[in-house]
Symmetry: C2
Subunit: 421 residues, 2 copies
C-alpha cells in the first residue's frame, strides 16, 4: 500500500515550527508495517493545496493530510477537499452539537466562526476527535483514500492510532494484530547491537517479526514489530525472540517500552523504600533534573549538590578542602559524606574532569563515579570524547545507568562503545 | 522567486529522524526575504527521486535538494541529477584531491568508496563544503536552478549561508545586504508583543523592514529582517527601529541575537567578579544545569542545592527544621543561609509549591523566588498553570530572568502574561 503524507500550513512551510507530526506519523505507520513513500509540505494556499491533493491522488493508495481543520480563514482543508471531489460543503449537525457541548462543558460560549469546523464535504466520513473541536474526516479523491487530520499533535496522535491505522490495516488485508516491542539501551552503538542480534528475525520463519533501531544519543532504541492473527499469536511469536534479545543485549538494556532510565531508577529505589542523594560537577544538575521532578520522587530524592569546584563540593558535604582531584577515591569520599549529611540510604557522585581549551570534537572528559550505601561502595571510571555537550550528555547517562546497574545487582563497570579504551 | 526544498533519505521519510533541516532552511531563507513554496520528502529510491526532481523542475525557479551525497550505495543524488539532465557523471579531480587531503590531515587513508563523492554531473558547478567530504553542487534541471546539499546539519548550514543564499539573492535582483536582528524575551505572548510593536515596520516607509516572531515556550523571539544596498544603509535603517523595540518591549528583552538568558546572567555576574549559589526544589536542578556547565561558569557558579523537601533544603544550608512552607520568606531565609554556607556573593532560591493530584492542563504551581546578596534581598511570587512540565519550564525561566533583572537593576516583579492574575 502506497501511503503519502501532506503537511499543510504556513507555520510548517516557513519553518516557524519543526514538523514533528510528519516523523511521528511516518514512524507510527512503519511500526505497524505500513510505509510512507512520499511527503509533501505546502502552505495555506488554495491553488497549491489543490495541486498537492491531485498529485497525491494520482500516485497513492492512501493519503494523510495534516492541518487546516481549524476555525480561522487560513484553515482550508475542508474547502479544498470539497473542490477536489467536486462536492459541496454540508453542515454536519452531529459535529456541531458535539462542539457546542465541548464549549458548554468548559463553561464557554462557542464563537460563531467555529461552525466552519462542522462544514464537511458531502461524501466525507467523520473521524472522531474526542479531545478537540477539529473534525477529522475521510473521503476518496480519485482512487486514493484521503484522511484529514488536525495539526494539534495530541489530537493527531489519537486520531491516527484509533481511527486511521485500524482502517488502513483492515484495507491492506494484513493480520489485524500488530505489536511493537521496544528495548532501550545505553553504551552500545546501533551497528554493534545489529550485529549482536544477527538472525533474530529468522527465529520466526514466516517473516512476521521485523527488527529496527532508532538512535538518539546517548540511548539506542531497539524495536521488534510483530504481526499475528491475534494478540495470543503475537505473544507466542514474540516470547522467545524477546528472551533472546534480553539475553544478547543483556545488562545494557536499561528499560523497555514506555519506561525511562530515570523511571526505572526511581522505581527500584522506591520499591526498597530507599532515598537518594546526588552530587555532580560538570553535569551541573542534569542528573538531579532527570530524577527530582518525577512524580513520586518527592519521597525518594533527598538532596542534590552541584559544584564545578571540588573544594566547594567537599564543603557542601562537610569535608575539608584538601586539593582533591576528580578520582574514584574522591567520589567515594564525597559519597560517604553525602550519606552522613543527608541521611539518604544511597548516594550517587558523578565527577567530570573536562579537558582544557576551546570546544572541539576531540575535547573529552574523564568521568569518576561512586555509588555508596551504608555498607557498600562501587566505583566506575571512564573517558568520553566528542566535545563539551556530548561529554555532558554521556556522563549524565553513565551516572544514571551505573545506579540502575547497581540497584539491579549488575556490574557497573562494563566497558561501553562510546568510551575511549 | 518560487523556491522548493526536496529532502531525501529513508531515515527522514520513515521518521527515524525528525527533519529539522527543512525548517532550518526554510527559516533561513525567510530571514533574507526569500520564500519556500513547496516541500517534498522522498526516500533513497531512484524512480521517486527522479519524479521529485522533475516535478519541482516544472514548478520552481530554484530547488534545494538535501541529502544523498554520501559515499554509500543508497546515496543517489549525483546519479539522479545526471539522469535528470541527461549528462554523465565525471570525476572531479579537484574534489578528489581535497578529500584525500581531508583524510591525510586526520592521519587516515581514504576508503575507496569515497571516490563516489567526487563524481559529479558534467554540467555541475561545485559548491564548497569546507568541513566535510560531501561535495555540494548546482546545475539547471529544466528551467529551475538546483542546489544539492549534504544531509549533515552543520555542513548544510554552512553551505546554505555561504554558497546558496548569496547566489539566490543575486539572482533575485534584491538588495544584496540583508540583516537579521533578533530579540529574546520572556513573559509576553506573541500577540501581545505584536500589539506592542504595531506600526514598527512603517518607521521605514520603503518596506525594507519586516517584523516576525518565533515562539518557543517559555521564550519568544522577535525578528527584524532589514534590507539595504549595503551594511551602512542597513544600520541606518535599523538603528531607530531597534531603539523603538527596546523601548516598547523594554525590561522583557532578556537577550539579543546569539545571546542566551543564562549567558547574559553569567556575563553580568562575571563582569562584577561575583559568585553564585542556587537552591531549587521542584525544578530539580534545571536552573543549575542551565548555568553550571557553561564555559567560564567554573569561576562564577559556586554551588547548587536541589531538594524536593524544604526541611532537606534548610538542612543543606544549615537551617533547622521548622515546618516552613514555600513562601518568599522561606526563600529569603534559605538564600541568606546559602550565602553564609557557600561564601557566594549572590544567592538565587527558587521554590515551587506544586498542586496535588494527577498531571493535567489545569495543574499549577506557586512560585516563590528570593535573590540575596550581602546587603540586599528581593523576592518574587507568582502562580503558573499548564501541567507539571509547563510549570517546571516556566519556573526555571522565571528564576533565571529574575536574576537577570536584578543584575541589570530592573524590577523583578513585573507581571507576565503566563501568570495567573
Amino acid at each position: 500500500m502506497r501511503i503519502e503524507i501532506i503537511c499543510t500550513g504556513d507555520e510548517v512551510l516557513t519553518g516557524k515550527i519543526v514538523n514533528s507530526n510528519f516523523s511521528y506519523m511516518s514512524q507510527k505507520l512503519e511500526d505497524v508495517g505500513l510505509s510512507v513513500v512520499w511527503g509533501t509540505t505546502v502552505g495555506d494556499d488554495r491553488e497549491r493545496l489543490l495541486d498537492a491533493f491531485r498529485l497525491a491522488a494520482g500516485r497513492a493508495d492512501a493519503v494523510i493530510v495534516n492541518g487546516g481543520l481549524g476555525p480561522t480563514v487560513d484553515d482550508l482543508s475542508q474547502e479544498i477537499a470539497a473542490k477536489a471531489t467536486s462536492t459541496e460543503l454540508v453542515l454536519n449537525r452531529e459535529w456541531l452539537a458535539k462542539m457546542e457541548e465541548f464549549f458548554t462543558r468548559r463553561a464557554r460560549v462557542m464563537p460563531p466562526n467555529n461552525v466552519k469546523q462542522a462544514m464537511l464535504p458531502a461524501t466525507a466520513e467523520v473521524l472522531d476527535n474526542p479531545i478537540g473541536t477539529a473534525c477529522g474526516f475521510a473521503l476518496d479523491i480519485g482512487k486514493a483514500w484521503f484522511f484529514f487530520t488536525p495539526g494539534v499533535p495530541r489530537e493527531l496522535r489519537r486520531m491516527l492510532e484509533e481511527q486511521i491505522i485500524p482502517r488502513l490495516l483492515k484495507k491492506s488485508g494484513r493480520a489485524v494484530t500488530i505489536h511493537l516491542k521496544r528495548f532501550h539501551s545505553y553504551g552500545l552503538g546501533e551497528s554493534h547491537v545489529d550485529t549482536l542480534l544477527a538472525g533474530i528475525e529468522e527465529m520466526v520463519p514466516d517473516g512476521s517479526i521485523k527488527l529496527g533501531f532508532r538512535a538518539h544519543y546517548p540511548q539506542l532504541e531497539t524495536k521488534l514489530v510483530v504481526r499475528g492473527a491475534d494478540m495470543d499469536e503475537v505473544r507466542r511469536k514474540l516470547a522467545p525472540v524477546e528472551a533472546e534479545v534480553q539475553k544478547r543485549v543483556g545488562n545494557f538494556i536499561l528499560a523497555e517500552d514506555d519506561q525511562t532510565l530515570e523511571g526505572v531508577v526511581l522505581a527500584a529505589l522506591a520499591s526498597r523504600a530507599a532515598t537518594l542523594a546526588v552530587a555532580e560537577s560538570f553535569t551541573g544538575g542534569q542528573v538531579a533534573a532527570r530524577l527530582a521532578p518525577l512524580a513520586g520522587a518527592e519521597k525518594v530524592f533527598r538532596r542534590g549538590v552541584v559544584a564545578r569546584d571540588l573544594t566547594q563540593m567537599r564543603a557542601a558535604v562537610g569535608l575539608p578542602a584538601d586539593g582533591a582531584v576528580a578520582t574514584p577515591e574522591t567520589a567515594v569520599a564525597v559519597a560517604r559524606a553525602l550519606l552522613g549529611a543527608t541521611g539518604a540510604s544511597h548516594a550517587l557522585v558523578l565527577l567530570v574532569d573536562l579537558d582544557e581549551g576551546a570546544d572541539r570534537l576531540e575535547l573529552g572528559g574523564t568521568i569518576a563515579i561512586a555509588i555508596a550505601t551504608g555498607t557498600d561502595t562501587v566505583t566506575r571510571q571512564a573517558r568520553l570524547l566528542g566535545g563539551r555537550e556530548w561529554v555532558r550528555l554521556g556522563a549524565v547517562e553513565m551516572g544514571l545507568d551505573c545506579l540502575r546497574r547497581y540497584l539491579q545487582g549488575l556490574p557497573v563497570d562494563e566497558k561501553i562503545d562510546f568510551e575511549k579504551k
